[in-house]
Symmetry: C2
């Protein structure tokens, strides 16, 4: 973490965009954000106000200024990440879920018994997510307590806001080489992580939080689900799991428990204000009502919907019901680690749900009317919406929120934003959100601390074409 | 164009991937590509052959070597780009097609009457497409002859392989401020561009080609369509247009001409071996048969399908019929200029077409069975498939093809490829295609000439946070 770019106790002057509600965004040109010593936003001074003018005249050096051509956005909140699956991003997406789990994913996750491997993979993941502007991530780890502790340690060290759970999976349909021995182990391991994270000396501000994480009902015994629900109630920890992702998963729970996935999770005490269920494509109207009533949230993963969920989550309907929704990359059920990509796919998938996909059907029978969302809504969900779902005070530039933010350099030569003359704020925001890539993300702050700067990137050590020994990839 | 990285008359040694057919890819580790003086591939020496060993011992300096961790792919062939729309990439995607055209797109395209604006926008576009690995682009320009000449001049100068058409649109439903005055002007302007490109002193190798470009039937009089068909027959030029993109466009042609869009284009002589129709979502089976019979191709634009086409092009069905298909970004009906994004969306959209989108329907009624394609097929379409559709000798590393290629640096620090240990070639290819971003594209060659190198990027002129005058975006 670079000290010089920290903004705790300072004022950051620049233009920002945020979307506190799903229906609109605000652009504040030349604003001044007053950050307190704990990294929270103490005041927001808009251009034209007397306080703004007074501070603008301040020459003490407490006012830092974004460079010309840069804009601030709230940092992105990724509500669904399988941290151990990062090494297979984009791989094996063409096989059925069952094969994907048994042949690829479980063997990969099992490798995290090896802490050296875990350190390498998790370290790269956290660095890359920060570089991509993901200031908060809700992580599934693996069944292993030591590697999950390591992930928490890395997030604490690297400065990412993170919610982390040891995966609980004790049903004997899971492979012998990769599961909890029994419900007791699943619950005890979860408790060990809660204790580790809460007692961590480097985590006194509570930036990293523990999460009770039953993988999904098809991987857990009722005993484990019950124990985990009790643990959540006892500790007040967040809860995450998968719910009604695919025809298969949805049908499995109905067959095993005689009720819907959401209903079954609820009776185990796993659906509360700090619960996030991933995917949720097949939620019924009454399932949604149940989640709304509990204050629980959904992690909508538009990319992985295309590969593993057999349908598109009815996002607009959920928002109309008042359901909390955040977005997730679903690394690696989705092929991209970028929350910019997640926002883009959220919009595209909503359009495909609205219009339908099969040209062989009449237009009126092809899709689900009034399903579209626009990029402003996707931006809201990727920031303030995800924060609301996670019950965290981040995601917008409002007084009292923690300063988790990114600075986008719209003019970065290696970036991909091209704003031509005469752009209205709405066009600047759309241009940024549709076009930006990692090279445009110049600075990333969490809690007012600079956790990543474009300058951090290692210089390219390699020349262009050269003579030298060939090495296979 | 940097002289030192040109490979004409030299040998390039490194690992390459290509997909000459839709059903598989080939990985050649440590191959040697012998490039002739005209930039064509004269020989492909595989590791282990005697010729490979002999050349490997060559110390004359004619053998150039890709750095460790780099792989070559064929350059991408973008089969549908509206060049003038680059400045509105990602903008106004939430309005209906009619509004999008009349309020945003036509006014923007009209600005290309200003050659200074055209030079700036087109120059940036060609630079950016090359940097993104698009070695061949099929461009719609605008109605303006001078700006279209300028686009051709820029492609010739910057070394991109390009097929360029002045847009013909003379129907009085097009706005007065942006259309051809009449059919004669549409045809004469098209002829002027054909003549300009073919006679251009810098284009003796014919790397830039002219294209007869009626915008689409709803923008053209029958007289113009007839004249353009005759011009295509007379000159042998390529033809491009839109066909059956949306419910509206599909229905419009049926109402006006009493036949399908494809049938109507065909009777005007606009469907031939060198014709590419964009989108084609609503082609009937017999329309597809007609295109197959003529040897024409489709530019599949998966991204813009989601915004403007009301359905997903039935790609797999088209491929099974033997239709030539390439991929298009459809700048700016699609929000991304990246052919990597186009490949990714092609796969995702095919999965959504297969599984369907509406969770409210039973699984069996939700989608179109057997519609999926995988990333290898998308890669084929983005390279050899597009080349076949355009009737160009590029798109794979086969003897006789022109050397249009990109080098991907899988280890670029600012890139986004993370390959972990033990990756099989199929995983390397999937990792590259799903994860790569612009910073991974280290070198781009067209016709054996280095047209772009990562080192070309202007150094960042700006420091990080700084004091200084604020400038609004």
């Amino acid at each position: 973490m670079g000290g010089s770019g920290d903004v705790r106790g300072r004022v950051l002057r620049g233009t920002f965009f945020h979307a506190p509600s799903p229906d609109g965004f605000e652009c504040c040109a030349d604003a001044m954000l007053v950050i307190d010593a704990a990294g929270a936003i103490a005041d927001v001074l808009r251009a034209g106000s007397g306080e703004h003018a007074a501070l603008a005249a301040d020459e003490s050096g407490q006012v830092m200024r974004l460079p010309e051509g840069s804009v601030m956005l709230p940092g992105f909140v990724d509500c669904h990440v399988h941290a151990p699956q990062f090494p297979q991003l984009g791989l094996a997406l063409d096989v059925p879920l069952e094969t994907w789990l048994m042949r690829y994913t479980f063997p990969l996750e099992a490798r995290y018994a090896d802490l050296d491997f875990a350190a390498r993979a998790y370290g790269q993941l956290v660095d890359d997510l920060l570089a991509g502007g993901t200031t908060t991530a809700l992580y599934f780890a693996t069944v292993h307590v030591p590697a999950t502790r390591l992930l928490a340690d890395l997030c604490i060290k690297k400065g990412q806001r993170a919610l982390i759970g040891k995966v609980a999976m004790d049903l004997d349909t899971c492979p012998d080489f990769y599961r909890d021995a029994d419900a007791d182990e699943a619950v005890a391991g979860t408790r060990a992580i809660i204790d580790h994270i809460r007692a961590h000396a480097g985590n006194s501000e509570g930036r990293v939080l523990p999460v009770v994480t039953p993988r999904f009902i098809p991987a857990c015994t009722d005993e484990a689900l019950e124990g985990l629900g009790q643990l959540a109630a006892e500790t007040g920890a967040h809860v995450q799991t998968h719910c009604s992702e695919s025809d298969w998963a949805h049908g499995y729970v109905r067959e095993r428990h005689g009720m819907s996935d959401a209903e079954s999770l609820d009776r185990f005490g796993l659906v509360g204000r700090r619960s996030i269920v991933a995917h949720a494509n097949f939620l019924s109207g009454s399932d949604m009502d149940l989640l709304v009533q509990r204050g629980a949230g959904v992690a909508h993963c538009a990319h992985s919907n295309a590969y593993f969920a057999n349908a598109v989550f009815p996002l607009r309907r959920a928002l109309e019901k008042g359901l909390h929704v955040g977005l997730g990359t679903d690394i690696s059920g989705g092929p991209s680690a970028s929350m910019l990509d997640a926002q883009r796919m959220t919009v595209a998938a909503s359009r495909m749900l609205e219009d339908g996909v099969d040209a062989g059907l009449p237009a009126g029978e092809r899709g689900c009317r009034d399903s579209r969302v626009d990029m402003v809504t996707a931006f809201h969900l990727a920031t303030a919406g995800g924060a609301e779902a996670l019950d965290l005070p981040v995601g917008s530039f409002e007084i009292g929120r923690k300063f988790d933010a990114i600075a986008i350099d719209t003019e970065a030569a290696e970036g991909t934003i091209r704003l031509f003359d005469g752009s209205a704020p709405s066009d600047v925001l759309a241009g940024v959100l549709y076009q930006a890539s990692r090279a445009n993300i110049a600075h990333v702050w969490v809690d007012g601390r600079l956790v990543r700067s474009h300058r951090d990137a290692a210089p390219r050590s390699k020349p262009g074409l050269r003579a030298g020994a060939f090495a296979a990839i």
